[in-house]
């Protein structure tokens, strides 16, 4: 009896001290994470309330850096470009990824492993390599213009990355190319986990391919969809390297993104406060995106 009553409390005690020790194990990583991520995050928040050139004493301006954005057409333009980039970084690759998942789940394609690796490849390339590749393709003597000339479409050749109309979509396509592989791989592995009984049941109920996709495949892919949306939306929000290594936001400001603006403000225009404020806005947006997606996906469960 005594033993019986003592043992649960002992177990609880043990469990409690175990979690403390677990925390100790985490401590070095937590300190490192805190020092390189958390502290700078709050420092940025703090800096965003100042007008500061990075050298002389800063001036407290409260929310003025943020309020200034409301009347700054450049900031609005940068965030409107983010909407365009979401189309290319998120919506397009997810749609294509779903399509390929639907197709592949139905049929056995030869060398599918090879194709999957090829499509996934851009995801593991560094952004500099991606920028160089796309700069080559779309340069004035690039593959695209050469191809157009070869088939007699000389009139369609363009200085693609110097065009007010095409620069942003072209950079967006480069983004689609990089995120597409991730989406496809996520969805294909997701469909593999959907019970075949569901497909059989759908067939028995007389569902066609389209009905099957919307009733079985898509609901079954909800967790993968959440991951893909979170990653690609955040990728679209923080586009920097691709733009910086090609057009730096030009021509004019036709391909400027919030991150490019952040960099110019903080590092070339000596306006650290405004740069930090853009960073804070981006962080809040990314957090909102993640929260909304998690909430929506949870609710449906």
């Amino acid at each position: 009896m005594r033993i019986m009553s003592a043992s649960p409390s002992l177990a609880r005690k043990k469990k409690k001290s175990g979690s403390k020790i677990g925390f100790l194990y985490l401590l070095p990583a937590l300190i490192a994470y805190g020092y390189v991520v958390i502290v700078p995050t709050f420092q940025s928040l703090w800096f965003s309330f100042f007008k500061w050139n990075g050298i002389t004493e800063a001036q407290w301006v409260g929310l003025n850096n943020y309020l200034g954005f409301l009347s700054n057409p450049l900031v609005k333009q940068a965030f409107s470009h983010t909407l365009v980039l979401i189309l290319f970084y998120s919506i397009l690759p997810i749609s294509l990824g779903l399509l390929s998942a639907a197709l592949i789940s139905k049929t056995q394609i030869r060398f599918s492993g090879f194709f999957r690796s090829v499509i996934f490849l851009p995801q593991i390339l560094t952004s500099v390599v991606i920028a160089v590749i796309w700069r080559q393709i779309f340069s004035t003597d690039g593959i695209l213009n050469d191809a157009l000339r070869a088939v007699g479409l000389e009139s369609l050749t363009q200085p693609w990355l110097g065009s007010f109309t095409f620069t942003l979509p072209v950079l967006g396509l480069a983004g689609s190319w990089t995120t597409m592989g991730l989406c496809m791989l996520l969805f294909i592995s997701g469909t593999a986990n959907i019970s075949t009984e569901l497909y059989d049941a759908a067939k028995l109920d007389g569902a066609g391919a389209i009905r099957e996709f919307f009733s079985v495949t898509l609901p079954g892919l909800r967790p993968q969809l959440a991951v893909a949306m979170t990653l690609t939306l955040i990728a679209a929000l923080r586009v920097f390297d691709l733009v910086w290594l090609t057009t730096r936001g030009g021509p004019g400001t036709s391909s400027i993104t919030p991150s490019v603006l952040l960099y110019s403000k903080a590092f070339t225009q000596s306006d650290v406060g405004a740069g930090a404020a853009i960073g804070v806005l981006l962080a809040i947006l990314a957090l909102l995106v993640a929260l909304v997606i998690v909430r929506v996906m949870d609710d449906k469960d």
Binding site: G34, I38, V39, P40, T41, F42, Q43, W46, F47, F50, W52, N53, G54, I55, T56, E57, A58, W60, R135, F138, S139, T140, Q158, P159, W160, L161, G162, S163, F164, T246, T247, R248, G249, G250, P251, G252, T253, S264, F267, T268, Q269, S270, D271, V272
Partner: protein
């Protein structure tokens, strides 16, 4: 759940407190100024000193790296009681402030740039030594061209650059915006180096009709678009207007200057097809590389920054300044390759000032010649075995004799370079007129000056 939320907010509160403590009350709290009561220029009176010199010349095989090695060796030989300890850091501008604020290992001599991001913002921070007393002692103001020396000046209240006190001394090596030309192509086209602005435009027209690219240009990556505008401004505008505008010495309205004429000329050249085909989609690196590879008659670029593989390759090219449209004495947008300042916290200020003086000396210019780099002050003979260097020496002698150095226009405000770039690209894209470009630059200028009131 409730409890974990509370724990979470507690943790966040701790992190906020921690990071704020780390950040200090407000970023960039200023330091007390410096006192330079007594100035010693006699090396013998300085005793045994070790001077810490910070620079960005990390490549010891480059001309500037070799030059710096010679400077240190020459200085130590001349003043045996002073030892020089160098610290070379790439991309120094981003962490110069940290180095200057470092209590223990403050460097004595530091490379602060011209313009707002350099002396402009550092002058009022109390981190740089006001060199006015040393200027009097060494007589830099009398010896060096005033149009160069003013680029190292700033007001102690942080409101102006280009006037006020001296916060740096330029080294005896120049960098300027210049026209490079392909010697063989110029001869083949039956042309000689243009002596007037009209001749220059005629040369481009001739190259165009001969099927050559008159001028290499690539503006896809933005800022390089400004080089040609700077050269055109120097050729068309009054030097006083440019200097007064950049350094806010008088209330210059850009609409009253020849800026619009310069922008219009730039657009006219573009419309005449004088530039690389589809230059808006060409990266500047590609354009200058193509020029070096023999494509194109001219390129307007920064002296010393063309990617020549060897001296022999460089000597296939020559350079000259764009002649002034009014036929007046040559003016060129140029500056010292680097200016150095003395840290306010330095404990060897006298020796540091002596080192600055040495880097601006005739000897320093001789070292530059040795490594085929154009010097900036003094008289030099254009008699080296490098025709390209000789062109540079001739050019610099001419500007020095007319005291015709112009500041880079984008020094006017920290945002001016971006505004110029965006406006020029919009101009080429047919989105704005030359008048709009001038208005946008004026707006940027006014906004910045307003913030300095």
């Amino acid at each position: 759940m409730e409890q974990s939320k509370r724990k979470m907010s507690g943790a966040i509160a701790i992190f906020v407190a921690f990071s704020l403590a780390l950040a200090g009350c407000s970023p960039g709290s200023s330091d007390s100024g410096s006192d330079t009561s007594t100035v010693v220029i006699d090396p013998a009176e300085m005793g045994d000193v070790t001077l810490t010199v910070l620079d960005s010349f990390t490549d010891n095989a480059s001309p500037i790296g070799l030059w710096m090695l010679d400077i240190v060796a020459g200085f130590e030989a001349k003043y045996p009681n002073i030892k020089v300890k160098r610290e070379s850091v790439q991309d120094i501008t981003t962490n110069l402030k940290l180095k200057l604020a470092d209590e223990k290992n403050t460097p004595d001599v530091v490379p602060a740039n011209q313009g707002w991001a350099g002396v402009g913002d550092l002058s009022s921070s109390g981190l740089l030594l006001n060199l006015d007393p040393y200027d009097k002692a060494y007589g830099w103001s009398e010896k060096l061209p005033t149009t160069i020396l003013q680029q190292s000046m700033a007001s102690t209240d942080g409101k102006n650059i280009g006037q006020g006190s001296l916060f740096g001394v330029p080294i005896n090596q120049g960098a300027f915006v210049t026209v490079f030309y392909n010697r063989a192509m110029l001869t083949k086209l039956g042309l000689s180096v243009p002596k007037t602005f009209a001749e220059f435009e005629a040369a481009m027209a001739k190259a165009k009709s001969a099927g050559q690219i008159p001028m290499q240009l690539g503006t896809q990556d933005g800022w390089p678009a400004s080089a040609t505008l700077l050269a055109l401004q120097a050729a068309l505008d009054s030097s006083d207007d440019i200097i007064n505008a950049v350094f806010a010495k008088s209330n210059v309205k850009l609409a009253d200057t020849k800026l619009e004429a310069a922008v219009t000329a730039y657009k006219k050249w573009a419309d005449s097809g004088y530039f690389t085909k589809d230059f808006v989609g060409v990266p500047s690196g590609t354009a200058v590389q193509d020029f070096v590879d023999g494509k194109g008659l001219f390129v307007i670029w920064y002296s010393g920054y063309l990617p020549f593989k060897s001296q022999a390759q460089g000597d296939k090219f020559g350079q000259f300044l764009l002649p002034r449209a009014d036929g007046g004495a040559l003016t060129g947008v140029g500056a010292s390759l680097q200016q150095f300042s003395v840290a306010a916290k330095s404990d060897a200020k006298d020796a540091a000032a002596l080192f600055l003086n040495y880097m601006a000396s005739q000897e320093a210019g001789d070292f530059a010649i040795k490594y085929k780099a154009p010097p900036l002050f003094g008289k030099f003979e254009a008699s080296s075995d490098s025709p390209l260097l000789n062109d540079g020496v001739v050019t610099l002698n001419l500007i020095t004799s007319s005291n015709g150095y112009l500041p880079y226009f984008d020094w006017a405000t920290p945002t001016m370079l971006d505004v110029m770039t965006q406006q020029l690209q919009s101009l080429f894209g047919g989105k704005v007129s030359p008048k709009d470009v001038v208005a946008a630059m004026q707006k940027d200028y006014d906004t910045f000056r307003e913030s300095k009131k």
